[in-house]
């Protein structure tokens, strides 16, 4: 563990990306204290203003403070992304481990089901699901979880397969350890670091997906603040006020890049077979 810590600390990109993630998390956790204005306060008299001391990043077409909306949007984007990932893992980890460890016809059935679900492009499938369920943040989360768990369960199954045949699992079976204990004590600790890396490498993608759904109008509904929706809102004013589009776009970029770098650095640091 010490080794991992040292490796993480010596990693420059890691430090930068974790700083960004830390700041973003702060923004997401305490927007009422950090935002200068009410994000939903409409004031047509101040619409499309440049930056000023009252509105540090200016205002949008309804006179709302952009900075405040960005800060509140962090909560929506990151919160939703972590919720989607968390729920996905709650389905994927048990099912992936069960299929991989059990093997046989259960595994076969599971794999064929994965094949069917993975034959559809995931964005399209989520879109179809949202179309059925109706727009809204709750339905967006549900649709994304339902589409994404398959992929992770499959990867986790693969990890379990590679651990399962190791001698210490066989030895545990021989000395009478119950299956559930084998899973908790031997299999889960062996794969969990890989799963964490997987989660952090992909959470940027989830942020991006949520923003794209909001951009299309399927995610959070007005007047709630969300980056993708802000970009969509500012489309008509692109020529007069390009910064309206630029700021939320930059936020998405920064968050996605930070998470990708963080995930990659984590993978490098944890890639120690036998510490």
């Amino acid at each position: 563990m010490k080794n991992v810590k040292r490796k993480l600390l010596s990693h420059k990109l890691m430090m930068i990306s974790s700083m960004i993630i830390f700041i973003m998390t702060l923004l997401a956790l305490f927007p009422p204290f950090l935002a200068p204005n009410d994000p939903n306060l409409i004031d047509i008299t101040h619409k499309l203003q440049g930056s000023s001391s009252k509105f540090p990043l200016g205002t949008d077409h309804l006179g709302r403070c952009i900075l405040s909306r960005l800060i509140y949007g962090t909560r929506t984007s990151l919160g939703t992304a972590f919720l989607v990932m968390g729920l996905t893992m709650m389905i994927s980890i048990p099912l992936g481990i069960y299929a991989g460890f059990r093997g046989g016809w259960v595994d076969y059935l599971f794999m064929r089901m994965c094949d069917i679900l993975m034959a559809f492009p995931s964005l399209l499938l989520s879109l179809a699901l949202i179309g059925i369920l109706g727009p809204g943040l709750g339905n967006l989360i549900l649709a994304m979880v339902l589409v994404h768990w398959v992929f992770y369960a499959r990867v986790i199954r693969g990890m379990v397969l590679s651990v399962k045949e190791q001698n210490f699992i066989l030895a545990a079976k021989v000395c009478g350890t119950p299956r559930l204990v084998i899973v908790i004590k031997h299999i889960l600790p062996a794969i969990i670091s890989q799963v964490v890396v997987l989660v952090f490498m992909d959470i940027g993608g989830v942020v991006l997906a949520i923003s794209s759904f909001s951009f299309l109008g399927f995610g959070i509904q007005p007047p709630g603040a969300e980056w993708g929706m802000m970009i969509n809102d500012s489309k008509p004013f692109f020529r007069n006020a390009p910064s309206l589009m630029l700021y939320p776009g930059m936020m998405i970029l920064i968050v996605v890049v930070a998470f990708n770098l963080f995930g990659e650095a984590l993978r490098d640091a944890l890639d120690l077979r036998r510490e």
Binding site: L170, A171, V174, C175, K185, A190, R274
Partner: protein, 269 residues
């Protein structure tokens, strides 16, 4: 004590939807008996089905045909609870000592694993027992808090042996247990095994391709070839009497300590 009756195991190869799948007969019709306090050496080339046979006895693989009788009971038609009770008398040590221990657990936890499954011990009792076991296999009692990467192959194999004898089993299967170690350590481990066998009245099934090691520890010998037992030897003194070509090949593959001194097949230790 252990009796195998007509064990057969076939593995399917590949995944063909149409037509006949390719198969490999790993074990064909093997029957053998093992009495108490005897060490049976099972030798053969790699791929001759020795390890599969070991896994079938341990219950890690199911035979397609045949029965495994252990302590007078047929393992295939026992209830789960009875099976668990019986299995505590049946333990294993594998060849790859590094992958036989979970690298994330301490030595104490590794050796205590079988104890936790079968005996309700307090943590103090458990620690004492583990320390006893460590001493039996010739390691320090302070090693209890160390991790597997801090040990050499020979030491790890001692830890595996400690785990195998923790429940005081009747039969231990050694699947190439010393083959990965250097010769000097091999002799140390074999001496330890011989001593443990006397002390705890154990039986061994010693699977190996190395006739020299088997000769050192086994009382009886079975030679396996292509999934069948081709030759038996009840007395290890008469090693030269082996007749089957495979046995002869194995015998001639033993390296002599003084190669220049003619073809004296007698082994010197």
């Amino acid at each position: 004590m252990l009796e195998l009756k007509g064990i057969k195991k076939t593995y399917l190869l590949g995944n063909s939807v149409w037509g006949k799948r390719k198969t490999v007969e790993a074990v064909k019709n093997v029957s053998l008996t093992l009495e108490e306090r005897v060490c049976l050496g099972l030798v053969g080339k790699s791929g001759s089905g020795k390890s599969t046979l070991g896994k079938i006895i341990l219950g890690l693989e199911k035979p397609d045909q045949g029965e495994v009788w252990f302590q007078g009971k047929n393992l295939s038609n026992l209830k789960a609870k009875e099976l668990k009770e019986l299995r505590r008398n049946l333990q294993v040590v594998f060849q790859d000592c590094y992958s036989s221990v979970n690298p994330r657990l301490t030595i104490g936890e590794i050796i205590a694993e079988p104890l936790r499954n079968y005996e309700r011990l307090t943590s103090v009792q458990e620690k004492k027992k583990v320390q006893e076991l460590l001493e039996i296999v010739g390691l320090c009692t302070e090693d209890i808090h160390k991790y597997p990467y801090q040990f050499s192959g020979g030491q790890l194999q001692r830890i595996n042996i400690a785990r195998a004898i923790a429940l005081k089993p009747k039969l231990i299967i050694f699947d190439e247990a010393v083959s990965a170690l250097d010769v000097l350590v091999q002799v140390q481990i074999l001496n330890l095994l011989a001593q443990l066998k006397e002390e705890f009245h154990l039986s061994y099934l010693f699977i190996s391709h190395d006739l020299q090691a088997v000769n050192y520890i086994a009382d009886r010998l079975a030679v396996m070839y292509n999934g069948e037992i081709v030759e038996w030897l009840d007395d290890m003194e008469q090693l030269e009497r082996l007749e089957h070509p495979v046995s002869k090949k194995l015998l001639s593959s033993v390296l002599l300590p003084y190669p220049g001194h003619g073809s004296d097949t007698k082994m010197i230790y």
